[in-house]
């Protein structure tokens, strides 16, 4: 295991680490003080086991979402209706693979191995964002994903750039910088459709109708029901509550939808003068929980494709590993 990544002195499952938890309250208070002072925690610093486990779970889920998230959009690469759009879409899907890699890399600084995390994804023991269990039925869905799904993701992710864990925060800075083009291209794509032929306009409206509510669910359950939120806020892994971010997103989207010439599918959506925010309709959380449990339109399909790509690639990974061994043996033999 990597020296820089998993030093014996702070290994998560090292017997000594558990002992250190109780044996060294000084370490714990130093950790708490660093977090409270908005300092970053770095890989080799002492950290509570639960902090490490929470981060691994969250970063892995985030990485999985990036790579599963490639699928609904890659679905349209071969059908993109202009070469300009095709280049943009390919670059975007490629970025998502890249973002997955940045994030797995951050998780590995905590002692996790990518192969192990992928196993957990493939066997359903770790989750990815439920939004990617919805299908991309028309070209306009590519636009709706860019505008709404990436928009919601950015709203979630910008605060993570100040997350207490250094490698995660740094990965997020890179991801957010690159994602800004993702949202813009989606908006521009929808705008072209909205201002296009009646058929194109209808395609755009249909996509927004289907993606709006699932996008609002991306912020997670209401604060009252969110199981991990409180401790994550104290640890500064999370900086704003689910409902707070959801509200921010709705307020951002309303004027953007107007400029698009499209409507958001919520009859209860209206400006509340008193609150200085928009009121919006009740979210159907039963759909959210059902999709999360595996009943979404594409859960099975997404995981099957991911698993197949991994399994069908096994011989390639084995070949390169075997070549590296032979090659280094040969080098030694001639040295």
């Amino acid at each position: 295991m990597a020296t820089a990544h998993q030093p014996p002195s702070t290994a998560p499952h090292h017997p000594a680490a558990g002992a250190a938890d109780t044996a060294a309250p000084a370490l714990e208070s130093a950790f708490d003080a660093a977090v409270a002072a908005d300092e970053r925690i770095e890989p080799r610093d002492w950290m509570p086991d639960a902090y490490r486990a929470t981060l691994v779970r969250q970063i892995a889920q985030h990485a999985h979402s990036e790579i599963i998230g490639m699928q609904p959009e890659a679905n349209w690469i071969t059908r993109a209706p202009s070469l300009r759009r095709k280049a943009i879409l390919m670059a975007k899907v490629q970025d998502e693979a890249g973002h997955g890699l940045y994030l797995y890399s951050a998780a590995e600084t905590l002692g996790a191995s990518r192969d192990d995390l992928l196993d957990k994804l493939h066997s359903g023991r770790q989750k990815y964002s439920s939004i990617f269990n919805y299908p991309t039925l028309t070209w306009a869905d590519v636009g709706a994903i860019g505008w709404l799904v990436d928009g919601a993701a950015i709203t979630n992710q910008v605060p993570l750039c100040r997350c207490s864990y250094g490698p995660y925060a740094r990965a997020m800075v890179r991801v957010c910088k690159e994602e800004s083009f993702h949202q813009r291209q989606g908006y521009e794509l929808l705008l072209a459709l909205s201002r296009g032929t009646p058929a194109q306009h209808a395609m755009a409206q249909d996509a927004v109708d289907r993606w709006w509510w699932p996008s609002l669910m991306m912020f997670g359950p209401p604060d009252a029901e969110s199981s991990h939120s409180e401790q994550s806020m104290i640890w500064k892994i999370k900086r704003h509550s689910n409902d707070e971010l959801r509200q921010r997103f709705v307020d951002i989207c309303v004027p953007q939808a107007e400029s698009l010439g499209l409507t958001l599918p919520d009859p209860d959506l209206k400006w509340n003068e008193e609150r200085g925010q928009h009121d919006f309709g009740a979210i159907d959380w039963s759909e959210f929980w059902s999709v999360l449990k595996g009943n979404g339109p594409c859960n099975e399909q997404r995981i099957t494709q991911r698993r197949r790509a991994h399994e069908e690639g096994a011989w390639v990974r084995e070949a390169a590993a075997a070549h590296a061994v032979k090659h280094s043996e040969r080098k030694e033999a001639t040295a």
């Binding site: 295991m1 990597a2 020296t3 820089a4 990544h5 030093p7 002195s9 702070t10 770095e42 080799r44 610093d45 002492w46 490629q94 970025d95 890249g98 890699l101 940045y102 890399s105 951050a106 590995e108 600084t109 191995s113 990518r114 192969d115 192990d116 992928l118 196993d119 990965a171 690159e178 399994e311 096994a314 990974r317 084995e318 390169a320 590993a321 070549h323 590296a324 090659h327 280094s328």
Partner: protein
């Protein structure tokens, strides 16, 4: 099905432009050094972020231990005479 073939981890350092030093960009997996360099090029310089790349097997990095942090780094904190602002220079003296 997995761990037996997991490629080793490499740390990637990128020089973003001439005149600057290489900075740690992140890590990646690759079967060997040549592929690690190429993967690093594809992953960490997609947007023109680099003019030179180093890759180092993660296992080859020896890092200072946070346990020794105090003895490693604190002693240098009380040597202000190593910094130019420590010295009073009469006003009007130039090029110093």
């Amino acid at each position: 099905m997995s761990s037996s073939t997991e490629w080793p981890l490499w740390e990637v350092f990128v020089r973003s432009r001439r005149g600057l030093s290489h900075t740690h960009a992140g890590s990646l997996h690759a079967p060997d050094a040549e592929m690690a360099l190429r993967n690093a090029r594809d992953l960490y310089t997609r947007r023109n972020e680099g003019v030179s790349i180093w890759v180092v097997p993660s296992t080859q990095i020896t890092a200072s231990s946070p346990d020794e942090k105090d003895s490693f780094f604190d002693p240098s904190a009380d040597k202000p005479y190593r910094h130019p602002t420590f010295y009073d220079i009469p006003e009007g003296v130039k090029h110093l």
